[in-house]
């Protein structure tokens, strides 16, 4: 099945724009995030700590609704879903 990934800020630079990713049926948000990380070294770095844990400040959204990181392991995706990933900026 296909899931659309909308990426913002540094993550968008890392993956070069929005993505349509092919993931197996029943894939979870965590599995999708891993697949996004696998698209490039920069994407991996933008999303994950060296320990492999998702960076705490990255905002996850699923079909326009905020997803708490605790839910990422269990939230299953469906064909045509949209996931938005937003690493906020901090400068002024």
């Amino acid at each position: 099945m296909q899931v659309r990934v909308r990426a913002f800020a540094r993550l968008r630079e890392a993956i070069g724009g929005d993505l349509m990713l092919e993931v197996p049926p029943g894939a979870t948000m965590s599995m999708l995030l891993a697949a996004v990380g696998e698209t490039s070294e920069q994407a991996e770095e933008a999303l994950f700590e060296e320990s492999g844990e998702l960076r705490g400040y990255v905002i996850l959204m699923h079909n326009g609704k905020r997803v708490r990181r605790a839910e990422a392991m269990t939230l299953t995706l469906a064909d045509g879903d949209e996931v938005a990933l937003f690493p906020p900026v901090a400068g002024g």
Partner: protein, 244 residues
């Protein structure tokens, strides 16, 4: 309340939202925290719009590396306090308003005093430690907070109404990392700063729809602007149940 000169100065916006709204602007007290990339455009446009009292708070001095984006400061201002440099330009732009310059860094100790009596707080800071302090003091005082932040070609903005909308910690429970040097092109804080100023004008005059419950995200590379919905979080450590 306005002199003929004042009516002339604000003629184009009085034509837009009326003299009563202009009077609301003239009575308003706005605290702008940060006189840098965001604070300069916010302050300049709010001064031009006729905000009666602008309080600028920033503890930094002007550095030459600031000049690509901090448009109220010029080459001759290097070494001066940012708030003094900025206040001078604002007073020259609009002598009819009051500009209060406070050269200090906002912290948990001084925040409540700095924002007391304000109608609105503008977060034009450059780090999340100060932003979280502003968020908490805005919640305590029940004063709206207009958030903005930038990096590179990217920016974000939202408007927080205490007790009604998602607060800064609902939206960003974990602060993005501090960078030694934040790369940025001057147009990014220009755009986000003007969105913040626009929010301030709309809030004070009761005009239009605010960026409440929405996070505006600007991508200057792609030249796209998107809003993402944001909601209050029951377990928010700043405004969650029983806290606000």
């Amino acid at each position: 309340m306005f002199t003929d000169r004042g009516l002339e100065r604000y003629q184009r916006q009085i034509a837009l939202f009326g003299v009563e709204a202009q009077e609301q602007l003239a009575r308003a007290r706005v605290v702008i925290v940060g006189a840098g990339g965001l604070g300069c455009p916010v302050a300049l446009y709010l001064a031009a719009a006729g905000i009666g009292e602008i309080r600028l708070v920033d503890g930094d001095i002007v550095d030459r590396t600031n000049l690509n984006r901090q448009v109220l400061h010029g080459d001759r201002d290097v070494g001066r306090a940012k708030v003094e440099s900025a206040a001078g330009k604002l007073r020259a732009q609009n002598p009819e308003i009051r500009v209060v310059a406070t050269c200090t860094t906002v912290d948990d100790e001084n925040a409540a005093l700095l924002v007391s009596g304000a109608d609105l707080i503008v977060d034009a800071a450059d780090n999340f430690a100060v932003r979280y302090t502003l968020n908490r003091v805005a919640l305590q005082a029940g004063v709206p907070l207009v958030h903005g932040a930038v990096r590179g070609f990217d920016g974000q903005a939202t408007t927080i109404i205490p007790g009604r909308t998602a607060c800064l910690e609902c939206i960003f429970p974990v602060a993005p990392p501090v960078e030694a040097v934040t790369p940025v092109v001057g147009t990014t804080p220009g755009i986000i700063g003007l969105i913040q100023a626009n929010e301030a004008i709309k809030y004070i005059t009761g005009t239009g729809d605010l960026l409440t419950g929405r996070l505006l995200v600007w991508d200057g590379h792609a030249a796209t602007m998107t809003t993402l919905p944001v909601e209050r979080q029951e377990d928010c450590s700043a405004c969650g149940i029983g806290r606000c």
